[in-house]
Amino acid sequence: MSAPKSLRSPVPLPHPDGPLSPYRVLDFSDVKGQLCGRLLAELGADVIKVEPRGGDPTRERGPFYRDQPGEERSLVWWALNAGKRSITLELRLEEGRELARCLAEKADIVIQTFRPGEAKALGLEYATLAKRNPGIVVVSITNFGLTGPYRHKEATDIVGSAMGGHMMLNGDPERGPVRTTAPQAYTQANVQACVGALIALYARWNNGGRGQLVDVSMQEAMANTMDNAQQTWDIRRVNPRGPGLRRNRDGLPGPRYLYEAADGWVACLAYGGLVGPASEAIVAWLAEYGEAGELTSPAWRHRLQGLQPLSPEEGAYLEERLAAFCRRFPKDWLVAEAQQRGAGWAPVYSPREIVECEQLRAREYWVRVHHEDLGETFVYPGAPFRLSRTPWRQRGRAPHVGEHNAEVYGELLGIDSATLRRLRLRMVI
């Protein structure tokens, strides 16, 4: 039975062309799993966010729309839950837990971030759900994994970054390790879990439709962002640390790659292309503006194209030349000119500069998302991938608390409005 048209909420926007349009996802997760759910929705899946009565705790995370807290005003909620439907359900009551199990019978993927043991206590762990729906894929995202000595340890983003070996690689020799202010351990857990979910979904084709448990560890997700640090220890017995403005080479601080421009910073690879195939063009460029110094001499030319590593003094001289040159010009000009000369430079962009970036504008990257409840339209990031036949689609604003109760409980479980009212009075939904 379907809800009357007037009760239909304006979101999510339909997406029948998405590659995952036949699938349904139940999302019980916190910030470690909500981006995973959102990506599935943008590929066409029907993603239902399950919130406790009174709203998901993520709604309390700042920053907020116009800096005023409120359950429909959290930008974290907006960014991670756009395109989903929302229902409320009290998992502290057995009646609520049973409703969750009934919904899981109608789903292909369940995303959870319950602590180890908690899903079992709720009767929502893989084994129980699979008895009633053998095809179910249960994605469990936890700090350290469902088993093992650290399974009950507390973690947030910075703990995931530290214990996942990533944070040691960021920072400065003097000031120590540093975290990326936008939470990357949460991001990594989400996107790697999404890969795991889709591998398990695909595995059903080969395994008679059987689903499985996907046990994701945030710590391991960060361990997979350590670049070549593990191999560097394994092979050279060197522990890389945060190299500041330089980049590590063989585990030790190598050439500087960040330089100050007239209006910000540029990232220039090692020595900005002064060493290697682009060196002649880059030296000529510096010379054009009188900043090449000794670099035009035959001896230097020989050094820059040769394979012998530079001495520290030679390296320091190159860095000095490059720094003096970059300081004079705006970063976008530097990057465009360097790229024309075959050197891979990029500007250091702030969020505003990313939104204004000519490349993204030319590709019509940004999408405008209408918030009819606020009477405003905002710019959101656009397609992270462009599939020619089954496109990605942004599906409108994030849902309000329980916005889709009537349609989801009606369509999926055949619950009529009188029963729905009773469930509400008993504080189940």
């Binding site: 936008a182 795991g196 361990a223 394994d234 590709r363």
Partner: protein, 407 residues
């Protein structure tokens, strides 16, 4: 079926992998470690950049000695084809006819130059799924830009958001987008494979590492487009949590402590034995604590200096406070949880010996990932693929060798 004994998810899927460096090979590693036959197509005339980057075994450079390359290429086969040779291009097209997926990450236009663009490849394989993964996508004024993850992280905002507020935008110490973008690409690719399985239809995926990575900025874009505020790097502080920091302990190791909720804060106070500073009026609510982070850091920093990292970690965790030790690469190998999860695989390589490889961050109960072999040496599987799969005779194979097609 017993646990972990399912048929591998991508059994029967064959991948022609023209990609290189970090992003592309990480995507195809997901497929290879879960049952696909992934064939890396490389060339000795223009070797894969990571084969030329360290760490090298015994510090001796060599195309088959790089740990950097090896880690991204477990479970794959390796062939060498000179794609600049017309016969090499023909051979590559013959190979693609036997493949379900083509992956590549060259500068846009390169595959077309070799006669290996999607339009031409779908003539030999109509249901092909092809993904192109350069830095900036197939179109636009930056499409031809060169670079690596180290500079892309700058354009994508990660430098701006990593470092101290009074210092330069140092960014992460890794080629960060190389470790973020591939997961998005894998999501798109597997979704396209699922669609193909249902409908028989292939497709082309235009993937821009830049465009995907922006989705890792959390609320930084929204805060600008909605509130007109530019988020910036905050050292180890957080826009919405306090205390939130990284502190040096007595033994020189670092710990991190973070209180995202009031509950965390209450537990933290208890763990410290409810010192006076925690009871100050301005410490009572998160909103005001966010303004007192310098003072909070001073107190916690002073306290941590008196204990070892292990002591702080154990104490905080006993009280339920999110706390961690900043681990080195060496400590990651010894980490009891990482060992329990068997994250690192140790695989025997003919030149490099037994070396460590990263496994996936997830355990699938029915079809777990399996790193079946170490990375291939350059051209290691030429005979197996060209004779066995494509059915070249010994004479044909030798003729290609002589003509330099397999270099």
């Amino acid at each position: 079926m017993p646990r972990g004994k399912g048929v591998k998810p991508f059994a029967g899927i064959r991948v022609a992998d023209f990609s290189w460096v970090g992003v592309g090979p990480t995507v195809t590693k997901y497929l290879a470690d879960h049952g696909a036959e992934v064939i890396r197509i490389e060339s000795a005339t223009y070797p894969e950049a990571l084969r030329r980057a360290g760490p090298f075994v015994d510090d001796v450079p060599g195309l088959d000695r790089s740990g950097y390359y090896a880690n991204f290429n477990s479970s794959k086969l390796g062939v060498s084809i000179n794609l600049k040779h017309p016969k090499g291009q023909e051979l590559a097209r013959r190979l693609v006819a036997h493949c379900d997926v083509v992956a590549e990450s060259f500068t846009p236009g390169t595959m077309a130059k070799f006669g290996l663009d999607y339009e031409r490849l779908r003539e030999v394989r109509p249901d092909l799924v092809m993904i192109s993964m350069p830095l900036f996508g197939q179109t636009g004024p930056w499409a031809h830009y060169q670079g690596y993850g180290h500079v892309l992280q700058a354009a994508a905002g990660f430098n701006h958001l990593t470092g101290w507020p009074d210092g330069p935008p140092i960014g992460t110490g890794v080629a960060y987008t190389d470790f973020l973008a591939p997961h998005f690409a894998a999501i798109a690719l597997i979704a396209a494979l699922d669609y193909r399985r249902r409908t028989g239809e292939g497709q082309y995926i235009d993937f821009s590492q830049f465009e995907a990575s922006i989705h890792g900025l959390w609320t930084a874009v929204h805060d600008w487009t909605v509130n007109g505020r530019e988020q910036i790097r905050l050292g180890n502080h957080d826009i919405d949590a306090a205390p939130h920091g990284c502190y040096r302990c007595k033994d020189g190791r670092y710990v991190v402590i973070a209180c995202e909720t009031e509950e965390h804060w209450e537990r933290f106070r208890a763990a410290l034995g409810r010192p006076e500073w925690c009871d100050l009026e301005r410490m009572r609510r998160k909103g005001s604590r966010l303004r007192e982070q310098k003072e909070i850091d001073r107190h916690i920093g002073w306290w941590c200096e008196q204990y070892t990292a292990k002591y702080v970690f154990d104490l905080m965790q006993r009280f339920g406070v999110p706390c961690g030790i900043v681990k080195t690469a060496e400590e990651m190998f010894r980490d009891p949880q990482m060992r329990h999860r068997r994250h690192y695989w140790f695989l025997e390589h003919p030149v490099m010996g037994r070396r460590s490889y990263d496994g996936p961050s997830f355990r699938l109960s029915l079809t777990p990932g399996e790193l079946t072999k170490a990375a291939p040496c350059l051209g290691e599987d030429n005979e197996r693929v060209f004779k066995g799969l494509l059915g070249l005779s010994d004479d044909e194979y030798e003729a290609l060798l002589v003509e330099g097609v397999l270099e």
